[in-house]
């Protein structure tokens, strides 16, 4: 607001002055011009941001609302036009749906298994990248390449690595005397394997975000910390991490959203069966269960209800995070 008035005042004053001298003759035209100018200032920004919101309304808001509407109906993909009103039945049945709870549980455990190590490694990587390095640009690009790889390509490679009979991971394990692990079938093993793919893909991305924030930390802080005799590690703990707190919070929020919607990695990890997430649904995430209901079993109404449940869960998490952060800031 202050910016706007700052811009407004000199230019609004400018044309005002000559009119005061030649009063009566050119006044209406100038009033019109200045009014148009004010409108321009007031409304043009909205016009500039409008495309995003129009596209969002068409491709984001409308599907969201339509999904909500479909969730209240029984509707099949074989005939999407005929909808039968069932009220909240699609939601209430989720309460007794053991597959839904199983998927929710898996989503949480895979989310934790992937997000926590991912952000910790990213922080460490960013700290290393922040040193003066020869060819630092190369390392910064290299760290981002997994993110640029397609999920499908990456997952296919990981499926081979985690193969039961001829996989490289099991080969390495047996080389050091451990027993081979059935990565697809074990509950914990499969979730760990899926998490590994997520960690591999997203660590570099988060590292670069941390790196950007680290470079904004004033150098004097480190200098004075060094003068006080703080080691590198103490500097990291007591200068870097506190300065990065808002950034860390941001990455946690973004990673949590990503983890809640996890889909591609578990889908492709189970190359043969698609959306079941393993024979015991051991790594079926909410995203996969939604896909199975909608695109394998063709129940669009039920799938929509799951989609909305996921949306509500995210809102809950966001609310909880806000509360937590609010409390921390007031302390």
């Amino acid at each position: 607001m202050t910016d706007e008035t700052a811009v407004l005042s000199p230019s609004a004053v400018g044309p005002e002055r000559p009119t005061a001298e030649g009063a009566g003759r050119s006044r209406p035209g100038q009033v019109w011009r200045s009014r148009r100018y004010r409108w321009d200032l007031r409304f043009s920004p909205y016009a500039f941001v409008a495309p995003f919101f129009l596209f969002f309304a068409a491709f984001g808001l409308f599907p969201l609302l339509y999904t909500g509407w479909a969730a209240l109906h029984q509707v099949e993909l074989t005939d999407p036009d005929s909808m039968t009103w069932v009220g909240l039945k699609n939601f209430t049945r989720l309460w007794d749906d053991e597959f839904f709870w199983n998927a929710l549980r898996n989503t949480v455990t895979i989310g934790l298994l992937s997000t926590v190590p991912q952000l910790a490694i990213a922080l460490g990587l960013a700290h290393l990248l922040n040193y003066k390095l020869r060819g630092s640009a190369f390392f910064r690009v290299a760290v981002l390449t997994p993110y640029a790889t397609s999920v499908a390509a990456a997952t296919l490679v990981f499926v081979l690595l985690f193969g039961r009979d001829y996989g490289m991971v099991n080969w390495a394990l047996s080389a050091v005397g451990f027993e081979a692990v059935d990565w697809q079938n074990g509950t914990f093993a499969s979730q760990l394997a899926v998490s590994t793919i997520v960690i591999w893909r997203w660590t570099g991305y988060n590292a670069l975000i941390y790196l950007a924030a680290m470079q904004a930390v004033p150098g004097e802080l480190y200098e004075s910390a060094a003068l006080d005799g703080a080691s590198r590690w103490q500097q990291f703990l007591h200068v870097t991490v506190p300065s990065l707190r808002p950034t860390i919070f941001f990455t946690i929020v973004v990673s949590t959203i990503g983890a809640t919607q996890l889909f591609g990695e578990p889908l492709l990890f189970n190359g043969g069966a698609g959306a079941t997430g393993g024979s015991d649904h051991q790594f079926q995430t909410l995203g996969l269960y939604l896909y199975e209901q909608g695109w394998v079993n063709l129940h669009l109404g039920r799938a929509s209800a799951i989609a909305w449940a996921m949306f509500l869960i995210l809102l809950l998490i966001a609310g909880a995070a806000r509360l937590l952060r609010g409390r921390k800031d007031s302390r």
């Binding site: 074989t78 597959f99 193969g163 001829y166 059935d182 079938n185 043969g272 015991d280």
Partner: protein, 425 residues
């Protein structure tokens, strides 16, 4: 916004086409027909499009392919629902055909009346599967999947079993239980680490494929829970796992592919279309090691149909093309080039089919073997949710028994629970 709309419109336009001549005709006034398929369907690979275009200079054929049917089929349904985005001809997998004839028949052209279509040329059961309740034949059969058993000659010999395909077929002729017994005999001599079959679910698919009634009865009721044929197939297949005869692999996964090249198992249920797959995966090193014998009972696994959506711009031309692509002569060519077995019984008399031998499988007379199986396959009752039921029985129930070591009863219960959840709307 206006610029964005222009951009979007620009994307939809084929830059090669001159504007104003209509979306479907190119500069020379040709009619472009599109064919939508899943996977490596074979029509293009066998050169059938080129041949048709050479015979019909005014027609241009373009194919779009989606790798997996699980992705292809839902998209086909949404496109049929909106009447847009459809190819002029669309492929449909056999497990989906009942749902298509039951729910989408009014959106599809009745191909039974299309010029050049001869009902008598097709296997009666295949024709019936593509026909809706109202009598319109909306799907023309392309291939079917009559089964044999592919086996490793060298591994059979090492285990003291006969390796000649006649003698091998005789080991289990007429009874799937004899297949299990052969497996036990194999295991006794082959020793540790050698499996008889690739997976229990492969056995289950083969056994269920030999019964007329599976998951639905004639009135369209779901009966898989009480049908002894389904439970029998499940239990028989499960005993391959409990007896330790299975390599515990999941079909169509990288591990399974590697099993072919590493010789992890001695036999695999082998629909005609599987021969090419084995050849690809086992590679040159497997040549003359693999052979194919008659299955215990005639059985069918897989196969496809072509349908023509009414919403297409050139429905009439498309129907003509679909009729030509599925005519006996073309099905025989598809078999010759790609190994997809014809669903038109008239093709079995053609020398390219009846005399076909497979080089890779020790010159096995595959035309003879599969034609015999195809003619013995019972008229199968297909239901709209066959795919969902079969998939959950295999990927949940049987996989739990095979890979997780659960009991057959536990596996069955888990599958039933998943199917109940899937079928309940």
């Amino acid at each position: 916004m206006g610029a964005a709309a222009l951009l979007l419109a620009g994307c939809a336009q084929d830059p090669a086409e001159s504007p104003g001549k209509g979306a479907s005709a190119d500069g020379k006034g040709k009619t472009t027909l599109t064919v939508g398929v899943f996977g490596a369907f074979g029509l293009q690979e066998a050169g059938l499009y080129d041949e048709y275009m050479a015979q019909n200079p005014t027609i241009r054929i373009e194919q779009t392919s989606i790798e997996r049917n699980e992705n292809y089929y839902p998209q086909l349904l949404t496109h049929l629902g909106t009447g847009s985005g459809l190819a002029d001809i669309q492929a449909v997998e056999v497990n989906n055909i009942a749902e298509i004839t039951a729910t989408q028949a009014d959106k599809l052209v009745d191909l039974g009346k299309a010029p050049g279509v001869d009902k008598a040329a097709y296997l009666p059961w295949k024709w019936a599967q593509g026909t809706a309740k109202g009598g319109a034949t909306v799907g023309l059969g392309t291939d079917i999947g009559p089964q044999g058993i592919c086996y490793r000659k060298d591994l059979f010999e090492a285990a003291g079993l006969p390796s000649d395909r006649e003698a091998v077929g005789a080991l289990w002729a007429g009874d799937w239980n004899k297949y299990l017994e052969t497996g036990k005999a194999y295991k006794a001599k082959a020793g540790e680490g050698k499996s008889f079959v690739d997976s229990s679910s492969g056995v289950m698919a083969a056994v269920t494929g030999s019964s007329a009634q599976r998951y639905y009865d004639e009135s369209g009721k779901v009966v898989y829970k009480t049908n002894p044929a389904v439970r029998g197939a499940f239990d028989l297949a499960a005993s391959f796992a409990t007896e330790g005869l299975s390599a515990k692999l999941q079909q169509f996964t990288p591990g399974w592919d590697q099993g072919f090249s590493n010789g992890s198992f001695a036999t695999v249920s082998c629909p005609a279309w599987m021969l090419g797959y084995i050849q690809d995966k086992a590679g040159p090193a497997g040549k003359d090691k693999w052979d194919v014998a008659q299955a215990p009972k005639p059985s069918n696994w897989g196969g496809s149909f072509l349908v023509v959506p009414k919403a297409g711009k050139h429905a009439e031309e498309a129907a003509k093309l679909a009729a030509w692509l599925t005519a006996p002569a073309q099905q025989a060519k598809l078999f010759e080039k790609r190994g997809s077995f014809p669903s038109a019984s008239a093709a079995y008399k053609l020398a390219t089919v009846s005399g076909a031998k497979h080089e890779y499988f020790g010159g096995a007379p595959i035309g003879e073997i599969f034609a015999k199986a195809a003619q013995g396959v019972p008229v199968t009752v297909v239901g709209p949710k066959d795919l969902v039921i079969a998939q959950n029985l295999a990927d949940i129930g049987m996989l739990q028994v095979d890979q997780k070591g659960r009991t057959p009863q536990e596996g069955w219960d888990a599958a039933v629970k998943a199917i109940d959840n899937a079928l309940d709307q």
